[in-house]
C-alpha cells in the first residue's frame, strides 16, 4: 500500500476514536481558554482591608486615604476595634487589618516613632504580599515624604533623624515580566505541559488499542506494515496535529491573553520541533508499554502536578533533591518549559538553550529506539501467538 493511503488509515483511526479526540482536541481547546482564567487580572488588586483608626486625627485620616488610593487594597473603615477586625478576617470579610494607634499624630510630633501595625493572613502569600507592599508604600514613602519635612523643622530631635539615615540606597529593577504578572508567569509554562500530557494520553491510547487488537488477532495496517513505517505514520499524524496546536497556543492564545513572545520565529520553530519530536517518541513508547487503552489517562493525569513543580519555574531546582531533578528530566516538558521560557519570555539567544535542546534530542533518540525495539519484540510475540 502506498504511504499516503496508509496515512489515511492512520488518520481515520484517530478521527473515529471519540474518546481520543475528546482529549487531543477537546482538552487542548478547553484548557487553552480555561487555564488562564484565574490569572486574568494578572496582579492582586482591591483587596478589602480593615483599617482601625484609634487616633482619628487629620494625619491618620490622610494615611487611611493614601492606603485606599493604592491599587492593591481597598480600605474598609467600618471596624472600630482590633477585635472586630480580627473576626472579620476569620469570616473572610477582609483579608488584612491595619491599626493606627492612639496618639499617633502627637507621638509623631514628639519624635516617639509611633507604630502602625499590619496583620494579614500569610497562608495566602499573594494577599499577604500585596497588603504589605501597599502599606509600606503608602506609609513609608508618601506619608514620610510629605509630612516629615515640616515636622523636622519643628520638633523631631535630630538624634532620631540620625538613627534613621541611610548612607546608601538599594534600587530594584525587574527584568522580564516586569509587572510580575501571574498570567505571564504561569501560562507559558503550563501550556507546554498541557500539550505534552494530552499528546501522551492520545498516543498512549492509540498504541494500546492497536496492540490490544493485535493480541486478539485483529490485524490492520499497524500489524501488516513494518514497525518503522507504523512509527513514521504515528509521528506524522500526531506531529501534524500538535504542530497546529502549538501554533495555536503560541500564536493565537498568547496574543489573546497578552502574553509576550519575543523569540525569533525560526528559533521558536526549531525548539518547538525538537520538543514535539521528544514528546512523540515518548508517546510511541508509552503506546507500546500500556497494555490497555484505559491505562494512559489515569497515569498521565497523576504525573501533571509533580511535573509542573519540578520544571524549575515556580520552585528553584537548587532547592529540590537531586534525584527529583533527574527524574523530572525524563519528561520532555522539563527541558521544554525551561527552553521555551528562556527563548520566548526572556529572549535569550539559541546557544543558551543548547543544554535543553540537547536533552530533548537525547530523549528523542532513547525513547524512539526503545519504542522500536519493544514494538518489534511485541510484534513477533503476538504473531507467534495467533
Amino acid at each position: 500500500m502506498s504511504f499516503l493511503r496508509l496515512l489515511r488509515e492512520e488518520l481515520l483511526a484517530i478521527f473515529k476514536d471519540m474518546d481520543l479526540l475528546l482529549t487531543i482536541f477537546g482538552g487542548v481547546l478547553l484548557y487553552a481558554f480555561l487555564y488562564p482564567q484565574p490569572y486574568l487580572k494578572e496582579a492582586v488588586t482591591a483587596l478589602p482591608v480593615a483599617v482601625v483608626d484609634y487616633d482619628k486625627s487629620d494625619m491618620s485620616r490622610e494615611i487611611t486615604f493614601m492606603l485606599d488610593a493604592s491599587p492593591q487594597i481597598e480600605v474598609d473603615s467600618s471596624y472600630l476595634s482590633e477585635k472586630s477586625a480580627k473576626e472579620a478576617i476569620i469570616n473572610n470579610e477582609v483579608s488584612a487589618l491595619i491599626i493606627i494607634p492612639e496618639h499617633f499624630k502627637q507621638d509623631l510630633y514628639l519624635g516617639k516613632e509611633p507604630v502602625i501595625s499590619v496583620g494579614a493572613d500569610a497562608s495566602y502569600f499573594l494577599i499577604y504580599g500585596g497588603v504589605v507592599e501597599a502599606t509600606m508604600h503608602s506609609v513609608l514613602t508618601e506619608s514620610a515624604m510629605i509630612q516629615v519635612g515640616d515636622l523636622l523643622k519643628k520638633s523631631v530631635p535630630l538624634v532620631t533623624a540620625k538613627l534613621q539615615y541611610t548612607p546608601f540606597k538599594t534600587e530594584f529593577i525587574n527584568t522580564f515580566n516586569t509587572t510580575a504578572s501571574y498570567i505571564n508567569y504561569v501560562v507559558p509554562a503550563v501550556y507546554i505541559l498541557i500539550l505534552q500530557q494530552t499528546m501522551l494520553i492520545g498516543m498512549g491510547m492509540m498504541g494500546a488499542t492497536q496492540s490490544q487488537q493485535m493480541r486478539v488477532g485483529v490485524g490492520g495496517y499497524y500489524s501488516r506494515e513494518r514497525v518503522s513505517t507504523v512509527m513514521a505514520l504515528r509521528f506524522i499524524s500526531f506531529g501534524a496535529i500538535y504542530f497546529v496546536h502549538m501554533l495555536f497556543y503560541f500564536g493565537f492564545t498568547f496574543d489573546l491573553f497578552g502574553v509576550p513572545h519575543i523569540a525569533k520565529m525560526g528559533e521558536l520553530l526549531l525548539f518547538g520541533f525538537s520538543f514535539l519530536m521528544a514528546s512523540l517518541s515518548l508517546g510511541v513508547l508509552l503506546g507500546a508499554l500500556f497494555k490497555e487503552r484505559i491505562y494512559p489517562t489515569p497515569v498521565i493525569l497523576l504525573t501533571s502536578l509533580p511535573l509542573v513543580f519540578t520544571a524549575g519555574f515556580v520552585w528553584p531546582l537548587e532547592s529540590m533533591p537531586q534525584w527529583l531533578v533527574w527524574l523530572s528530566s525524563l519528561s520532555p516538558s522539563t527541558p521544554g518549559i525551561q527552553g521555551f521560557l528562556r527563548l520566548n519570555q526572556m529572549g535569550v539567544s539559541f546557544d543558551q538553550v543548547i543544554g535543553q535542546f540537547g536533552l530533548l534530542w537525547t530523549q528523542t533518540a532513547v525513547y524512539s529506539v526503545s519504542a522500536y525495539l519493544l514494538l518489534r519484540a511485541q510484534r513477533k510475540w503476538y504473531l507467534q501467538d495467533v
Binding site: P38, D121, Q164, T166, F168, Y295, L301, M320, M346
Partner: protein, 386 residues
Amino acid sequence: MNYLQKVMGAAQEELSAIRESWYMLGFLSWVPLIGFAMIIAIFLEGVPRELPVGVVDKDHSQFSRMQLSRLESSATLQIRDYYDSVADAAHDLSGGDIYAIVIIPEHFEQRVRQGSQPAITVMLNTQFILMSKVLKSAFSSVFMESAATIDYVTTLAEDERPELAKSAVMPIRLQITPFFNTYNNYFLFLVSAMLPAFWSILVMITMVISIGEMFKNGREKRWLESAGGSLSAAMLGKMLPYVAVQMLWGLGLVYFVYGVMPWPFAGSWLILAAAMLLTIIIYQLLAYGFYAIEYKYDAALSFTAVFTAPAFAAMGITFPLMNMGDIAVAWHDLLPISHYIHIQISQANYGAPLESIGSSFAYLALFLSVTPLVYWRYKSQSKGWM
C-alpha cells in the same frame, strides 16, 4: 437480609474485586504513596536557600567588598559569579543561570563618605516570581542592616550636613504581623493545599476505575446480587471500601503537614474529618455520574481527567479568589476540593467557628443534589444486567 447487610454484601464483593486486581490495589497503595512523597520532597526545604546570583562590582573598594561579604553570609543566596560588565551578567540572568544581578556603582565608597547616597542596583528576573520575591527581601534586609552599622556617616549627618539626614528620615515605624503561617514557609503554603488537590484527583479517578473495571469484567450482575438486588445498597457498598482508604490517606496527609511537620493545627479534627468525608462522597457520586454520561469506561476517564486536572490552579491558594474573574470563580466553585481546602486552611490556622465555614459546607452539600439524577441513570440501566 436487611439494608445494612445488603450494603455490606456489596462492600464484600468490592473488596474481593480489589484483591484480584493489581491495578486497583496499586491505585490505593503505592500510586498515592509515590505521588504524595514526590510533592512533599519537592518543597521539603520550605524556604529557598543559596539561590545563585551574580555581582558586578565597579567600585572594587574595601567598602564594596564588605557589602559583598555580607551578602555571602545570607543563607538565601550565594554569589555564583563576578562579572566585569552588566551585559555579561545580563546574559546569564536571561539564561537562568543566576536569578539576580547586584551592581555596585563606581566611586561607591567615596560617595557614601560624601553623603551623596549612592544606590546599589539589583536586577531581578521577575519571570521567576517566587525566587525574585525571596531574593528581594533577602537583599533588602542585608543592605538595610549593613547601612545601619555605618557610623561615620551618621556623624557626618549630625555635624556637617544635617539636611541630608532630614531628607531621608522615616519617623513612623511599621510593624508587620503575619497572622497564621507566621513562618513564611512555602512548604506550608503550597504543600498543605497541593496534597489535597492531588488527593482529590486520586479519589475520583480511583472510583471511576472501580466502576469501569466492574463493567469491563462483566461483574455488574454479581455486584447487584451481592446487595440483594438493591441498587442503592450496591452503590453505597461499592463506595465503602474506598471511603475508608481515602479517609486514611486524607487524614494521614493533613496529619503529616500539621502533626509530623512542626506546624500547629488550631481547629477541630472532627470538623476537618467531616469535610473530608463529604468531599470523598461527592467525588464518588461524580464518578458514578461521569461514568453514566455515556456508560463508557474510557470516556469517563477522559471526562474525569479534564475535570480534575486543574484542581490546584482553581483553588484560590496561589492566586486569590477575590481577584479572579467570573469564569474562574465558577470553575473554582464547581470543584468540590476548592470548598474543602477553605475549610482545611481555616481550621488549621484559626479553628474557624462553624458559622464562618458554613458557606463552604453548604456548597459541598449542594453537590449531593445530583444523587437522584445519578441513581436514576443507573436504575434505568440495571434492568439489563439481570
